[in-house]
C-alpha cells in the first residue's frame, strides 16, 4: 500500500484568482450583450412588419433616456468586444510568414482594429447619406 495522499486544490472562484482570467470572463460576457443588442434590432424588424405606427413607436422608445443609457453601455461593451477579439486573433490564426518570418502579433491586432474602424466609419457615412 502506498502512503501517498495527494491534495487537490479546489477550483472555486478560479476566475477571480488572476486579472487575466477576469479579463477573459469579461470578454466572454460581452457576447451576452451582443445578443441583447441583436434582440433590440430584431424587435425593430418585427415592429416594421407590423406597420408604420408600430415602427414609429419603436423609434420613439429608442429615444427614451433609459434606451440611450443602454446604448451607451452597449457601445462601451462593443468596443471592448472588438478589442478583445482582435487581441486574441494572433493566437487563433494560422502562421503568416511574409519573408519567411512570423508576422508580429501587434501587426495582426493593429490591422484588425484598423479594418474594424474603417468599416464602422464607412457604415456610418453610408447611413447618414441614406438618411439625408
Amino acid at each position: 500500500m502506498s502512503a501517498r495522499r495527494t491534495y487537490m486544490r479546489p477550483m472555486d472562484g478560479w476566475w477571480r484568482r488572476d486579472p487575466f482570467f477576469v479579463r477573459y470572463m469579461a470578454r466572454e460576457a460581452t457576447a451576452v450583450l451582443v445578443v441583447l443588442y441583436a434582440l433590440v434590432l430584431l424587435v425593430g424588424v418585427v415592429r416594421l412588419g407590423q406597420g408604420q405606427a408600430a415602427y414609429e413607436g419603436w423609434l420613439q422608445a429608442l429615444k427614451s433616456p433609459a434606451s440611450i443609457a443602454l446604448h451607451l453601455v452597449l457601445l462601451a461593451v462593443f468596443l471592448y468586444h472588438t478589442w478583445s477579439w482582435f487581441n486574441i486573433m494572433p493566437k487563433t490564426m494560422p502562421l503568416i510568414l511574409p519573408n519567411g518570418k512570423r508576422l508580429s502579433p501587434a501587426v495582426v491586432t493593429g490591422t484588425g482594429l484598423a479594418a474594424a474602424a474603417v468599416v464602422c466609419l464607412a457604415l456610418v457615412i453610408a447611413a447618414m447619406k441614406v438618411a439625408s
Binding site: 491534495y7 478560479w14 488572476d18 482570467f21 519567411g100
Partner: protein, 256 residues
C-alpha cells in the same frame, strides 16, 4: 559606502510557502520564512536558502537553475513561473507567496504529481515518424526555411507545465489534453518530414482534444520559451473543423 554595501547584504525578504506534509496535515498551510538575499538571487535560491539554513523539511523540485530543465515551475505571487528565472528583488519590499503549480495534485509542499502530464506526453508519439524511409546513402531530409518556421517555435517546449497551471479548462477538467501537449503534437504534425499526422489527429478531433480549449490565451503569456501553445491549439481547431466538413465529400473521409 561601506554602509551601503552592508545594507545591500542585509536585505531580508519574507517568503510564504504553501506547505503540505500529508503525514501531518489534512490540507496545505502557509508557512513564512525570513530570507536574507542579494540582487542576483532567484526565488529558487531563496528556497534553497530555506532548505539549507532554516527548515530542511521543505520539498521542491529543481535541477538546472538556468530555465532549460523545466523542473522548478511553481506559482509565484499567484502566477505560474520558473523559480530559477524569477528574482527575489522584484518582490521586495513586499513578501512573496510560493505555491505548488496550480491544477496539479500536490504530492508534498511544492512538489506536484505530474503523472497525468507524462501519460499524455507518451500518448502523442512525440517524435518524428519518417514520412518516407531513407537510407544513409540518400542523405539527409531537406527542409526549406519556411517549412522550418512552421514548427520551430513549437519545438521550444521544455515540459515545465506552466501552461497547464495557467489553463482553467485543464484545472476544471483534467481530461482535456492541455496546451503544452497539444503544442508538442502540433510541432510534429507541422514538420514536413513527419508521416504520423493521421494517427495524431484522432486525439486532436476527440472530446479531449483541441475543442476543450476556449481561447483563454494565458498559456501563451506564461510560457517561458515563447512557444505560444494557444496558437498551436487554435490552428488545429481550424484543421479539425475542416475535417468535420470534408469527411462528407472526400472518399478518404476527412482532411487528414
Amino acid at each position: 559606502m561601506a554602509e551601503n554595501a552592508l545594507t545591500q547584504t542585509q536585505r531580508e525578504i519574507e517568503i510564504e510557502v504553501l506547505r503540505y506534509r500529508p503525514e501531518q496535515e489534512s490540507e496545505p498551510v502557509l508557512q513564512s520564512y525570513k530570507v536574507p538575499f542579494t540582487d542576483d538571487m532567484s526565488v529558487l535560491q531563496g528556497l534553497q536558502y530555506i532548505k539549507d539554513y532554516l527548515d530542511g523539511t521543505l520539498s521542491f523540485r529543481w535541477s538546472c537553475r538556468m530555465a532549460i530543465c523545466g523542473s522548478c515551475g511553481m506559482m509565484i505571487g499567484g502566477v505560474p513561473k520558473m523559480s530559477c528565472k524569477t528574482f527575489l528583488r522584484e518582490y521586495y519590499p513586499g513578501k512573496i507567496r510560493v505555491e505548488a503549480l496550480a491544477h496539479f495534485p500536490i504530492e508534498r509542499d511544492l512538489v506536484t504529481d505530474v503523472r497525468d502530464f507524462i501519460g499524455k506526453l507518451e500518448s502523442i508519439q512525440p517524435y518524428i515518424v519518417p514520412k518516407e524511409p531513407r537510407t544513409l546513402e540518400q542523405g539527409e531530409y531537406l527542409q526549406t526555411p519556411a517549412q522550418l518556421e512552421q514548427f520551430l517555435q513549437f519545438s521550444g517546449c521544455i515540459n515545465c507545465m506552466l501552461c497547464y497551471a495557467a489553463c482553467p479548462q485543464y484545472g476544471l477538467d483534467s481530461k482535456f489534453t492541455g496546451p503544452g501537449i497539444l503544442a508538442l503534437l502540433h510541432r510534429y504534425n507541422a514538420d514536413s518530414r513527419d508521416g504520423a499526422k493521421e494517427s495524431r489527429m484522432e486525439l486532436v478531433h476527440s472530446e479531449e482534444g483541441v475543442w476543450g480549449c476556449t481561447a483563454v490565451g494565458y498559456c501563451s503569456e506564461v510560457c517561458p520559451k515563447g512557444v505560444d501553445p494557444a496558437n498551436a491549439v487554435n490552428q488545429n481547431k481550424t484543421a479539425s473543423a475542416m475535417d468535420f466538413f470534408l469527411r462528407f465529400v472526400t472518399p478518404k473521409g476527412g482532411a487528414k
